[in-house]
Symmetry: C2
Subunit: 350 residues, 2 copies
């Protein structure tokens, strides 16, 4: 397997270092052939090459079987115009690779319930996947610009979806629900948005093909409430790009395990991209404090989904569970009575 590794910004490089060690351990233990090649993205790429997604990086990703990303972004580049910001590199990569589906499994790890802001009883049986559309909607629609209107400025972004884009992501939602508890919650704002009305109708139409899956619709404002009120009621949530961005971060925080959650972004035929849900955390970058486990779990997702190596993925997952069960924690997970590890110590333990 050829893996393109893009460390990125902030804590990205330090968690990537541990992740590559982990991959090398997998190679050694399971006699696998994994070829790693590094590429630049985000702020680091802006600094060195003047663009957040250099051509060489895109080329590397296209010719790899999977992409493993740390994180992008930081205050250093906040003043830049839109196309020269670190995030533009990630957005362009998503678009170029056709990564239309972002899968975010939201689970609570045994022993970490205490870190959740929610009452303990609400966390029982929380096990959902958020399926977020990733290459359409407000992120990519045009016009997307600032313009002069008489004496003053105005700005516009465009929320655009074709029926085919909607159908593709909804279908994935139905398929995933079929593999799980057969409950699909489609989130939209159909009482206000035209795109949401097309979304909801398409969901209704597809539901006829999936009689074994129960389809519910929730308005996005209500979804933001229900996620907190009763997170265990959800199995698979499917939604458009911006709603998915907001709701998946909210859901991740609920678990208390935001430093623990991986994600996969998949295309129809090309390489998938695997990355932690958390960001580049510039405030703790370079301090050897960051939690590498979300990126480790992203590797597990990669080995399972792209390579089909379930045994290797299971090994990573159970190593992480053992380390947590023994009471080891990184700083973000710290509770009284647990031992704090640095990024590299946690990497070594796993």
């Amino acid at each position: 397997m050829r893996v393109a590794v893009l460390p990125g910004d902030g804590i990205g490089p330090e968690i990537t270092r541990e992740t590559v060690n982990l991959l090398e351990e997998i190679v050694r233990l399971f006699q696998r052939n994994i070829e790693i090649q590094y590429g630049q993205i985000g702020g680091a790429a802006i600094d060195e090459e003047g663009t957040p997604l250099p051509k060489a990086t895109l080329q590397l990703c296209r010719t790899s079987d999977a992409v493993l990303l740390g994180a992008v972004g930081g205050p250093k580049w906040d003043g830049q115009p839109g196309h020269l910001r670190p995030e533009a590199g990630l957005l362009a990569l998503r678009k170029e690779l056709g990564l239309y589906a972002n899968l975010r499994p939201i689970t609570v790890f045994a022993g970490l319930e205490g870190a959740s802001p929610l009452k303990g009883e609400l966390l029982q049986d929380v096990d959902m996947v958020i399926v977020r559309e990733l290459t359409g909607g407000l992120y990519f629609g045009t016009p997307k610009e600032r313009r002069r209107s008489g004496q003053e400025w105005e700005a516009v972004d465009t929320l655009h979806y074709t029926e085919a884009e909607i159908e593709r992501i909804l279908r994935l939602g139905f398929e995933m629900a079929r593999q799980r508890r057969r409950l699909l919650t489609s989130v939209d704002k159909a009482n206000v948005l035209e795109t949401s009305r097309l979304w909801r109708e398409t969901a209704e139409r597809l539901a006829l093909e999936y009689p074994d899956v129960t389809l519910n619709h929730l308005l996005v404002d209500n979804a933001a409430m229900q996620l907190i009120k009763c997170p265990s009621r959800f199995d698979v949530i499917v939604t458009e790009n911006m709603f998915g961005d907001i709701l998946s971060d909210e859901a991740a925080m609920i678990t208390g395990s935001i430093g623990m959650l991986p994600s996969a972004s998949l295309s129809e035929t090309g390489p998938g991209l695997y990355e932690p849900i958390h960001g580049s955390a510039p405030d703790i970058a370079g301090q050897n404090k960051a939690n590498p486990l979300a990126m480790f779990l992203s590797v597990a997702m990669m080995l399972r989904q792209t390579a089909g190596w379930a045994r290797e993925a299971d090994a990573i997952q159970s190593a992480i569970e053992s380390v947590l069960a023994e009471g080891w924690r990184t700083e973000d997970l710290g509770e009284p009575g647990t031992a704090r590890l640095t990024t590299s110590e946690m990497g070594a333990k796993v």
Copy 2:
């Protein structure tokens, strides 16, 4: 004071009935002159007049000092095209009256902490106001349509803001922060949206005029997390229409008092509109179970802001506090050891 009362749909009529009783009690106790006139809106107006905002209703509102609204919407009208849905009536009313600022105070009521999904210690000192832009953004931008693109459908909504619209709502945010704890959190998605970048720059520019207010920026996905992680850190949150819709519902749920929270929608010079944050709750409509307290508190906001009658507003607020302190609850607030009241019983108690 002339008040236009629009009961609307679902539980709207039953909570409005109690609210009008309350207003009549205020008239009696404080010798005030309050003239009430009813208007139709939402699904009820569609059924009777074929449009969710009849001309007569708009005219009534325009010539009143304030508008008091129950709630609109319900599954009965879900199949309708956009402009014939109950919500279109509320949206048109907001637009026609120029109600650009939606104020949602988020507080935890003594005795109701148990109903929150959050751990008790996180609720201490929660006291914020969400200032949501209400007449711009994705709700009203054009094009907003479904159209044919070759063989398939596509749909588009437009997120549009002028600098003047942004400045107006931000300025209100700064002014409100000045009256409170002097902390303003502006929520945007400046790493992706052009409108958000204009928003953020405008906030930075205005901040120079408000050196006594501390301005913070949060990305909307991060805001959805921070609201749960540490709700007490917020004083005034200001944000655009759709983000405000999502975040204010999330924040309301956090308090455990979603049935308790009022809102005010203000224009530059005309009448304000006062309504509960909660919706029309079609599932319990007509059962005399709904909690009327959010609409009562909306009346208190109306008396304070539109009429300047602080004594009357205080009287409503302390009546509600006493009733809660005595252990009376409606069904939505029920905890063990409290007595359940119907809508009309709760109205009578207050």
